[in-house]
Symmetry: D2
Subunit: 361 residues, 4 copies
């Protein structure tokens, strides 16, 4: 297990889907940050299941509690423990998982690794664990917002083969949340919703691609050579359940471009350096240049489907399983806030590290 993320703004997440609670300890949050339970709750509400018919009908209040680290509405510089109690658990739904390894899930690999597994609802491999990341991400986002005016947005760019047609620079948080699938292109949003309903009816699931756009990122952050900004961001995205790919700037398309086409022309204008284009996606040499950071993240289809599937059991038998439980046909729809949260956690660590070593001798 390695459930601690970050060197200077360290978050230690804990809790499994059918345990007592899920939560996170933030160690290293600067003192004096105004912080209320309400603003963390707002972030959590965006990942909560049960918001509409496109996501799982599980009802979870996911009420967050600040157990330590604040005093009179501000952070004290001491560890902040945030926790949400687990409710509405249907452990019975998972009875057949005692034996069977669900295809596409971590059941088998947890058994291989730990020799032992909490089979209820995926245990620690459950997406419920991401609640803790979102809670911590809300704190990280606020530091970046107050210090640099940074805005971090994520939205659905495609579901299956349905693609949005939008100018990323015009996307707003409001437009994202206005869509039931969190796609700010309203025409594509409707098609995506239809596709998701279709796969749900077919007892199946479907994958998606998310966009991540970071405006006004802290400048000059990223620590070559092993904590380059793109490596830290990409590594953070790949910790999210179901993520199978990451691109920055032109990403895989860069592999088909010429240097003369891909290089961004640098201009000194209005007292600062800018690039005329942004093929690089805001990072060069592992260090942010101040341009918007643009990434894309690929999600696989939800592994749990209501169809009968072949698989093996811990009793060494091969057989068939129909998974029960309540699941999202497209898990990515709830993921934008998780992507934003991991981006915030990645950047705030690099931001603090850069701050540590900026000197005038």
């Amino acid at each position: 297990m390695s459930s601690i993320y970050g060197k200077l703004f360290s978050v230690s997440t804990w809790g499994e889907s059918h345990g007592e609670a899920v939560g996170v300890v933030i160690d290293g949050c600067p003192a004096g940050l105004p912080l209320t339970q309400e603003e963390i709750q707002r972030a959590l509400d965006r990942r909560r299941p049960g918001q509409n018919s496109l996501v799982t009908p599980r009802k979870e209040a996911d009420t967050i509690h600040i157990l330590s680290g604040t005093f009179e509405g501000k952070t004290t510089g001491t560890p902040i423990c945030l926790a949400a109690w687990n409710e509405n658990q249907h452990s019975g739904d998972y009875a057949e998982m005692v034996n069977w390894y669900r295809p596409g899930h971590a059941d088998l690999t947890y058994d291989l690794k730990y020799g032992f597994r909490d089979y209820r609802g995926g245990g620690r491999a459950s997406a419920r664990e991401t609640l803790a990341r979102v809670a911590a991400g809300a704190v990280a986002s606020k530091i970046l917002k107050l210090s640099c005016g940074t805005e971090i947005l994520s939205w659905i760019e495609s579901v299956g083969n349905v693609k949005a047609n939008i100018d990323p620079s015009q996307v707003t948080a409001e437009a994202i949340e206005a869509s039931p699938v969190r796609c700010p292109d309203s025409e594509a949003s409707q098609k995506m919703a239809a596709l998701i309903q279709e796969v749900r009816m077919a007892k199946d699931s479907v994958g998606a691609v998310l966009a991540l756009e970071i405006r006004k990122p802290p400048v000059a952050i990223g620590e070559p050579v092993f904590e380059k900004a793109q490596a830290v961001l990409g590594g953070a995205m790949l910790t999210i359940p179901a993520v199978k790919g990451f691109e920055i700037g032109e990403g895989f398309a860069a592999s088909t471009m010429r240097g003369s086409e891909h290089n961004d022309v640098i201009r000194f204008e209005n007292g600062g350096y800018h690039t005329l284009t942004n093929h690089a996606g805001g990072i060069l040499g592992g260090i942010t240049n101040g341009e918007t950071i643009h990434c894309r993240i690929a999600f696989k289809p939800t592994a749990t489907i209501a169809q009968e599937q072949e698989t093996a059991g811990c009793d060494h038998q091969n057989g068939k399983l129909i998974a029960r439980g309540r699941h999202d046909p497209c898990v990515a729809v709830r993921a934008p806030v998780i992507v934003e949260s991991m981006a915030a956690l990645a950047l705030v660590n690099l931001f603090l590290e850069q701050k540590a070593r900026t000197f005038q001798f």
Copy 2:
């Protein structure tokens, strides 16, 4: 700067293209590993420039020296320092870089970050830094080979729009090295070579995609939730200069698939668990299941091109630059051994971590 990689097998790389030397300190290598200068040299020879007309004509012997950590041909468990002296430096080539920021390079971002920059040959942002990773990777690979029989292979899958057509499971190290562009499909290899010559003549450069195939990886490694195997591997790849994208298993293609299609059926056969397909790419829930790990890595075109390019200078003027120096028209051709090395460093750390916590109480 964060030039230290890995928690248990820690490598600390140092050196810039026009300094005295480039090297690495390995802290945490197990004792008793047979290790000679020659086997490290063999890995380095694969990334050396000047091997054929498709890569930069710079001649560098890149002779590695073991300065500490071995005794009578075996590692002692103490830090291993490996170093190669810099030679054949044409500092004069970089005279115009004193002022101008090369488009697509880290010149501007290093100045933004450090307020100061070694402008000779890219300094620490030079690909020369990867020499140290390859030296350390050779040691990591050997540990995995001797302990688990792990084989790590990387090759060129596409250059620009020229794609190889091969069955990854049939690729051999010999077939890769037999191709001047390190593409084991000989027909595609010829087309790629032709394309690279064409862009060189056009004073341009071109991007590429590399495949990474890890056979017989250690089973049950990867530390959920923040050091999942795919996150550690992907993060490692994204630290390599010019990398803009990473995929595991089906990668971005997974976003267009249905769950019923993407889930790999698990079978218990011949005393072990296997999957009938391997869309997941060998990792589930962040933990290796023993199947081959398959990844793809996107490289942008080499930023340095011999054409005139618009840019700005540190004097706040906008103007034009013709970069001199000797550069690869397709930097990815030398990259397979770097990709393999970073994969080895990523895996060996997860392998040691898993070893630490495997108990029978």
Copy 3:
């Protein structure tokens, strides 16, 4: 703040004396360890206030809850969150601390560092934070006990100028707990109790020295050169509130000895290496040799005393303060279990690290 301890068995403590709760997240505990709330509670009961007239009369149930990380009575390998709710808080007792900096306390330094302070009961600087260490230490101790048979004992060796006269190798856990001051020499124990009553009557406090004895420690642990066993142990002890000194083996007395006197003769006997004496205290070159590890830890007198004291306030005025609140006249009396816990946390990390790198190539 740096409230995370340990690289492989990482504990992240959180909570302050007058917040909602105090707790700890353990990340990296091996799977399969039998663990119940009851055994953690037993350790906590040893540090609880209110046990007799020699310690603070505060009543705290300190009931521990396992919020995550176990399933059917065993650890699952996932993060273990342990928490105890705060009760019996008399915030009113601390009204005058809003302004005044208590001499010998962290009030001023927290304000200097964080610009802001939770003045209730010392906030995070309160000894209440050590509850979390003891809870985590109970888990660490069990791993060492089951794996190596390690026994860790700490007791009071002196209070003020009253010294125990005992053979450390004969001390038992029962003898320690039988004494109200946790000194296994019953005659000295009575004198210490009398001294503590005397200083309490005088509205004063007194310091003490604790012994730490680790029998059957894991052999060959300790990571030269910066995580030598004595450095990790000593560093751990110096994190405990009120500790001002640490010795191993002969400690300061070694400075007056000759080499011929201090060197321990090595003998091969009964299939293993032993030393005829143990001046080194069980560690040479930073690595345990299997002999008993013996240390001594100095505690200063409790800073809070019921006398009027001169001090300054955050309003920049100098004046006088009479601290209220309920405090131990000799804080060290409750410290043995804390010392044992930190020793266990230090050793278990070195033990796992040694395990990670033990190979037969």
Copy 4:
């Protein structure tokens, strides 16, 4: 092995007494620090053997080379590699160590840990390793000096039972270096020199206590609860070969004091907070208050003595050994610069960490 020290100013030391070279890589040094080979050399010259008849007659030039990380006399923010080549090695002196385990040395424990040992001159357990610490410490000291005016001094306070009688606040670097034993009390210095000559004649060795005085330390550094300033400093000292004890402020003497006596009265005067006394030694709650930090460090007698000693061998036989080689009768005489260096490395890390998280929201 754990040869990496520090989270933000990380030093990775490498090299053994009879290998090619000894050195260090500094990762995370801020850019723009003026740095020359000469100033590092001056620090190294203070630990060099062969300075007078009281230390080992080995002649080592210990010439330091900067292999990377500086450009035009300033640090670039990239890793700084410093190395000194090994010369004047008498490997033959160590022939009998192939079998015999020297009492008081790490020979046996290295074999227990690594199954294998470089027996020449103690290998990595040799005090020669501290050369790298002193080189890195010179860089760390300069950062503290330029940023805060911090002055770090260490001297010999006692050798055997000969104690200096001095006011620590009056000690100067010049007075320390003027003494052949580095004791600024000239009368005690003479007695110490005589004692060292006496033990040398007796083919024996003797221990010592060093004082460590840090004037104008950075204020408000130290990270509760696990990186309290005293824990980081004490842990750093205990990594130095031969150190067996550490005290801060009153240290063990605090255990015999009353709270009313030990508490330092705080005063607000001349625009800042000060304490009238400094029993605490400059740190409260793990955070520096700006007062001078005062510590004491106990060194055991040099383990290598020219007398015949009983011991065991790796062949499982018990027998007798007369160590050859050239050794200091009182190793502590060369240690002040090592103590100062480790203190600088400890403090600079805490200083950078505090800088990272100081915000005005």
